[in-house]
Symmetry: C2
Subunit: 322 residues, 2 copies
């Protein structure tokens, strides 16, 4: 993985992915006690940064491989990113989802033209189902984060942050990234290493699911004790990736963990002052920027809002705070 | 008013106002039955397009006049636009508001550094209060829409629409604009006349408050029968402006009017598929794009979302539909 791969992905994404703006509000600066710049990837196609990695991976395939189609395991933002990238390339996509996935997510993925293949979480073997389907149809698997082209695609968000922060006069400080498996975090870290070395990436996770923070502190991969049970489920993964962890370990500052109450308050403040819709997992970095200022360095902090795919009931909970 | 004035305003706004992106979703296209491109001015500083006109007006003043400060009458988005533009220029701003203005709006305007001067709606004479204050301190009044530099500033939104629509391959069709006094509508119409003559502006208003549509149809200024009582109050004005009406009359297609139910559904769809927060008055154009397709022309429709300053309770009403 190097910057050339990210720049090549950026060339392929140009005109297809959105260049999201950098937002700010004096009211957020006041809460944080420093200047806050927000990179709202909720405004990306399909409502999350995942579209970048999906497009990068699909567009990197040889045409004769690509045309047979792609396959992914996901019931979340990766599924929609893959579905949209496939649709825009005019190729088939199959998404393997548990049969108890929320109906809205199934409908959303189907609405983007993908075939949804269900399996029973208790009795089915999703890897076997995926392997059989791939072999039968010649589909290419696109993994959600531990995949070089996916990391390169997410890294294009980092190229934009480097440029936009520089335009705003910011060349030093912490860049807080919502972190699951580490695809976005490691991609942005690689981009900033090359383009804005004074900016340092720090992964942010929900409290109780801070495998990356603990892995970074321990100098080796640590797992989460549990994998569900919080409002930030969408960004919870068992452990950092085999590809992403060494990158994060080399480039990132210490991880941060935020509470669910802080996440809901960050969603409410993003609603009120930025007019964007953040999902809980997508609001962890903003929550750290706003409420964990003592742990940050620099006069300015950059925070990603990685996605906005939140159900109305959960958003309404945040609004009660707004 | 001509395009040179809008381009001069764009030069002064560069690096200060946000260039908002053009958003879209295949799900919205499906609802509308055509391609829908959304210009989200809710992402502008202070959460509405009003910042553009305020900045244009303030920056056009001679330095020795500007430094004495500005004054405006508003309890809404114009107040915040003026306050922010004044703050960013380092000059004082006084905003005259009725004493029964919502506390959140007063606090929001004060939070941006403006002085809020209250008057009693029943017994006070706001014009006299404003005139006395202006004379005493040498403040310059910035009117909300019937003011050439304000129209020019709002027109910069039209310059961006012309460029961004062209990049998206769109050169013909209707451009729907949320319309109160007509500052944004006439500004965008002037910009498109010069830069994208195949795009036609059409004002959109709430049903029951469609003074502009009726004025256009009658060929002369008509007033609204009532001035409050709807969720779109923020964009309701007594009648089109003396400066804005002739421009709209010359350049705009027929006006459209949407129901409150359509407005709430548009807010819900913008939440779900674009991840933006639209205020009711700011969602009327999107509502027309989505639900009044029979009255539109072209394969693509552009809709402005003019603002996102909505209270949580009203937004929650929209979420119940989402």
């Amino acid at each position: 993985m190097d910057i050339a791969r990210i720049e090549a992905a950026a060339t392929r994404l140009a005109g297809h992915a959105r260049r999201t703006p950098l937002l700010s509000s004096p009211f957020l600066d006041e809460v944080a006690g420093r200047r806050v710049l927000v990179k709202p990837e909720c405004l990306q196609h399909t409502g999350s940064f995942k579209f970048r990695g999906a497009w990068a991976a699909v567009s990197a395939l040889a045409p004769e491989v690509r045309k047979r189609g792609i396959i992914a395991f996901s019931s979340g933002n990766h599924a929609q990113g893959i579905a949209a990238a496939a649709r825009m390339h005019g190729i088939p996509a199959a998404i393997i989802m548990p049969s108890d996935a929320p109906a809205a997510k199934v409908a959303g993925t189907r609405g983007l033209g993908a075939e949804v293949v269900s399996y029973d979480r208790a009795t089915g073997d999703r890897d076997a189902i995926g392997a059989a389907l791939s072999e039968e149809r010649g589909l290419t698997l696109v993994k959600p984060f531990d995949e070089p082209e996916v990391i390169a695609g997410q890294g294009t968000c980092g190229l934009e942050i480097a440029e936009q922060a520089s335009e705003a006069g910011v060349t030093t400080g912490d860049v807080l990234v919502c972190c699951g498996g580490g695809g976005l975090t490691s991609g942005i870290a690689l981009a900033l290493e090359a383009k804005a070395p004074g900016l340092r990436v720090r992964p942010v996770e929900p409290q109780g699911f801070d495998d990356v923070a603990r892995s970074l502190a321990a100098g080796g991969i640590r797992r989460n004790d549990k994998l569900s049970g919080g409002i930030c489920d969408a960004i919870v993964t068992p452990q950092p990736g085999e590809l992403t962890f060494p990158i994060m370990s080399r480039l990132c500052g210490p991880g941060l963990a935020v509470s669910e109450d802080e996440v809901l308050r960050a969603m409410a403040l993003a609603f009120r002052h930025l007019k964007i819709v953040a999902e809980p997992g997508g609001a962890v970095a903003l929550a750290a920027a706003l409420f964990h200022g003592d742990a940050l360095e620099g006069e300015t902090v950059v925070a990603t809002v990685s996605g906005g795919n939140v159900d109305p009931a959960t958003f309404a909970r945040a609004l009660e705070i707004a």
